[in-house]
């Protein structure tokens, strides 16, 4: 989990050009981290590559916060 958060944080910092300490589990990807809808699609592609998994579109739509991403990935890879 900690490792997943670290890797997710790194990708978000890189893609959205935010500071690592802004990337908390509660942070909303759109509202707090400034992503627009294209950024979210791009971020999901990057996460799929990084964790070697497929995030279905209906699941992607439910992702709001950094915590949602981490939980989704943890459930998928465990």
């Amino acid at each position: 989990m900690a490792d997943t958060l670290e890797r997710v944080t790194q990708i978000i910092v890189e893609r959205l050009d935010v500071e690592a300490d802004e990337v908390t589990l509660e942070a909303s990807i759109k509202e707090d981290l400034g992503a627009d809808s294209l950024d979210v699609v791009d971020l999901i592609m990057e996460l799929e590559d990084e964790f070697n998994l497929t995030i279905e579109e209906e699941d992607a739509e439910k992702i709001n916060t950094v915590g949602d991403i981490v939980n989704y990935i943890s459930a998928k890879v465990s």
């Binding site: 893609r15 959205l16 050009d17 294209l38 699609v41 791009d42 592609m45």
Partner: protein, 418 residues
């Protein structure tokens, strides 16, 4: 009664310098921007490229102009345009916070658009499938996005468009921006051209069309417009952006006026995909239209910055076109092709060459045609061979001639009575 239009700011990203003063100093010094290809390895393909040289932009850093997060979402042709536009705005001392942004427009052309992006994503599509194609793919590649991004990043909310007319894109864009200002539809226009097509696919296409020089062992001497030994163009890249404004607006804000924009003309060859019309008759009519628009006699023109691509047909026919438009005065005026130094910036050529017009008028100096060694009987004008020349430049004209038979001409003049 149409508005008078003046040039107040210039910004350049070019193979011979990534800012205006470096570009201009190198141009007057006669430096070539050409060298061996570095953007891709021409030996990593199943068959060799016949052309292996280009005039590439060197050491370009977008970060002083564009946030890191946004850089990733822009093809290089857009990055060049944004950088050159911001430099032009700064050069014009145009304070966007004080401007009525509804009166500031953008008109930046590109001949091709995001070729790097197209190639990268086509490869991803075939190797990994449609779900791996970037959501930024379309907004990165479309040729109008230089104008779009410049408006987004500068706040300019006035008229906004882009010309896509191959190698005439920059000149058409500037001409159309000039018209918008003449008609009073904006007070300020940020305008010019941008291009970044030093890529394998565009090289392969231009090689197959036999358009580019194959003087691979001597890149600095490969672009040799009007010289008898010319064998094709050398691809350049970059962006040339100008700030144009109505004379009234420039005077009201106390702007430094560099030159006046006085004429624009355009025609079509209606002849062939890539070859110019016999005797350059389309280019001739384009120049005549621009002279008429400027209300100038042919004898008033001091300097022509030629399209001068260094291809066999262009240089021969453009020379005939100049003779057709100017009669005996063709032998008295100076003609030079700065593509001998910058290479051919395609859709950006008209932008960078409009900067040359403005600077030649401001500094009263004409840049040379370098690499001029062997006279061609078909090209018998004064091409300002090899060395820049101090001269009275009151009126200067620039031609851009594009695949498809698009011909465009603009004319600038020293500012006299205001």
């Amino acid at each position: 009664m149409s508005n008078r239009v003046v040039v107040t700011g210039l910004g350049a990203v070019s193979p011979i310098g990534n800012d205006l003063s470096t570009f201009w100093d190198n141009l007057l010094a006669g430096k070539s921007g050409a060298g061996p290809l570095t953007r891709f390895d021409p030996d990593s393909f199943p068959t060799p490229f016949t052309t292996r040289i280009a005039a590439e932009v060197k050491d370009f850093d977008p970060l002083p102009f564009i946030d890191k997060k946004e850089v990733r979402k822009m093809d290089i042709f857009i990055q060049y345009a944004v950088a050159a536009a911001k430099m032009a705005i700064e050069h014009a001392k145009l304070d966007m916070e004080k401007e009525d942004l509804d009166e500031v427009g953008v008109y930046i052309g590109s001949g091709i658009g995001g070729m790097n992006t197209i190639e990268a994503n086509a490869q991803i599509l075939h190797e990994r499938g449609p779900k791996r194609v970037s959501p930024f793919f379309i907004p990165m590649l479309i040729a109008n996005m230089a104008s779009g991004q410049v408006s987004i990043l500068t706040g300019a909310k006035g008229p906004n468009s882009a010309s896509v007319t191959a190698c005439a894109s920059g000149t058409h864009s500037i001409g159309e921006a000039f018209r918008i200002l003449q008609r009073g539809e904006a007070s300020v226009m940020i305008t010019g051209g941008t291009e970044a097509t030093v890529t394998p696919l565009s090289f392969a296409g231009f090689c197959s069309a036999h358009a580019m020089s194959t003087r691979n062992d001597d890149p600095e001497h490969a672009s040799r417009p009007f010289d008898k030994e010319r064998d094709g163009f050398v691809m350049g890249e970059g962006a040339g952006i100008l700030v144009l404004e109505t004379l009234d607006h420039a005077l009201a804000r106390g702007a430094n006026i560099i030159a006046e924009m006085v004429g624009y003309g355009m025609t079509a060859d209606a002849h062939h995909l890539t070859a110019p019309a016999p005797e350059g008759e389309g280019a001739r009519r384009s120049m005549i239209r621009a002279l008429k628009d400027a209300n100038l006699e042919p004898t008033e023109v001091d300097y022509i910055n030629a399209h001068g691509t260094s291809t066999d047909l262009n240089d021969k026919f453009e020379t005939m076109a100049i003779k057709g438009a100017f009669g005996n005065h063709a032998y008295k005026l100076a003609v030079s092709s700065t593509k001998s130094m910058t290479g051919h910036l395609l859709g950006a050529a008209g932008g960078i060459e409009a900067i040359v017009l403005a600077k030649s008028i401001q500094d009263q100096v004409i840049p040379a045609t370098i690499n001029y060694e062997f006279p061609d009987p078909d090209c018998d004008l004064d091409y300002v061979p090899n060395e820049a020349r101090k001269a009275n430049v009151r009126v200067a004209l620039s031609n851009s001639l594009g695949f498809g038979g698009h011909n465009a001409t603009i004319i600038m003049k020293a500012v006299e009575e205001v």
